[in-house]
Symmetry: C2
Subunit: 273 residues, 2 copies
């Protein structure tokens, strides 16, 4: 089994079933050496205990999800969001995360100004950047699928993320998620362009029929994404880090026994790559 | 009221309520001078009668929907699809349609080869092109939203459509639909690039929350699309044709009285542009 990278699991994949302690223990028991963490789960467990659990199980933290979400025009709210993002960067540094995954937010309520939202996202990433550099945790800019442009992220293509990285420089990186980018006609070119800045590589599948933003994300092999092709592009761009399964699945995988979810992630990573 | 273009309604907007005759009479009675037609509705009415109705009501036919759908690898099926598309071009010519709206199809069953699907779509458009030129009806290449890449159309950006038009030359054009392209970070540039090839301009809104591929399309003003901004880009690219409302809405507008639907299209075209 020649794999391009070791496997990690984003704990959102077993969000409904497991605490952070259970996820770390459960993933480690199955031989998975990487995990991406979320602040609500860390808060539940306590940061010091989270750091100890990660260390004791020799886990690599492949991401801290998620910063960003700058969809406000209220100065006080935006200051609070900047503070929160800086606190998340501190936690990400403490737990040794490879990046703070940044999902920048969509349109503010009542707005139709997608260009303005994009400018605001850039400005807030720029404002956050010095702290990211100071704590040594890169901002992982993750373009989300264009169907999420209004609601969750106005950064929707790798071309945009690459443009932002050109502008931000050191301390900014890109998170590539197959679910969000597989359709992009410019994919090969933009992944090559991201060489040296890829800070995380997320995998999950695009289901067909696709029944909407919340429930259309599936386990590798259950959809239409060509994982070997995209993995090859990412490897050719020089990425040697973990490959991280991230599946939000309220109606399917979140309802299954977590041991089955983890076992299936491992099996599919073997059979689909 | 300075409008960039007169209003047309795609008859799919009242698909559940009205036959072609009723749609032509209903739109004309409300002062709408354009309609886009569908083959099932023409078949129901008969082509000769459809042509007569269009002429008698002095309607401009702003599109014939829809050709394409080349998602097959079976040679016999593909020959049949080519024949069907040629027949649709003939009907489109007979009824005086401004273009054959081409939606090229997505992945074939079991395939994960989006690049292959895109090559196949190009090849089939090339094969159809001489007949389009012969009957004088341009192929209106319509990029559909990336969320439809697998299921309905592997042409998902205006950049792709522009690239295809570069390749195909005379007889190929582009259909711009706000619902499919509003999110595109490269929108202004690609619309400018489409100058001289825009054969139809479709409008409908992107609803938030967006509850899926089938039901997320709404009436102008009910969503987040900045219609004046996009209309300005389309006008700057030299397009002077009709602006066509196209709303598939099984759970909302298809359930309302058709007169209300038409009245609302007109009102919103006045208030949102």
């Amino acid at each position: 089994m020649a794999k391009p990278a070791p496997l990690s699991i984003n704990q959102v994949t077993t969000k409904a079933q497991w605490t952070l302690r259970q996820a770390i223990e459960g993933y480690a028991a199955a031989g998975v050496r990487g995990i991406a963490v979320w602040p609500d789960k860390i808060a539940e467990c306590g940061l010091a205990e989270a750091v100890r659990l990660v260390r004791d199980h020799d886990m690599t933290v492949t991401g801290y999800c998620r910063g960003g979400m700058f969809a406000s025009t209220d100065p006080a709210t935006l200051r609070r969001l900047q503070d929160e993002n800086r606190r998340m960067l501190d936690e990400a540094a403490a737990i040794g995360a490879s990046c703070l995954v940044c999902v920048v937010g969509g349109l503010t309520d009542g707005s139709r100004d997608i260009g303005g939202a994009r400018n605001r996202a850039r400005d807030h990433l720029l404002e956050l950047l010095p702290h990211a550099r100071a704590v040594g945790v890169p901002l992982g800019i993750e373009p989300l699928h264009p169907m999420m442009a209004a609601s969750i992220s106005c950064i929707n293509t790798l071309a945009q993320a690459n443009g932002l990285c050109d502008e931000l420089g050191a301390g900014a990186g890109i998170v590539i998620d197959t679910y969000h980018v597989w359709w992009d006609p410019d994919l090969a070119h933009q992944i090559a362009r991201a060489s040296g800045r890829i800070v995380a590589f997320h995998i999950s599948d695009w289901l067909v029929p696709h029944d909407g933003i919340v429930t259309g994300r599936g386990m590798m092999g259950d959809g239409v994404i060509d994982f070997p092709a995209i993995t090859k592009m990412v490897a050719a761009a020089g990425y040697t880090g973990f490959t991280e399964v991230e599946i939000m699945s309220p109606l399917d995988w979140w309802r299954r026994p977590p041991e089955e979810v983890v076992r299936t992630c491992i099996e599919r990573y073997r059979s689909c790559f």
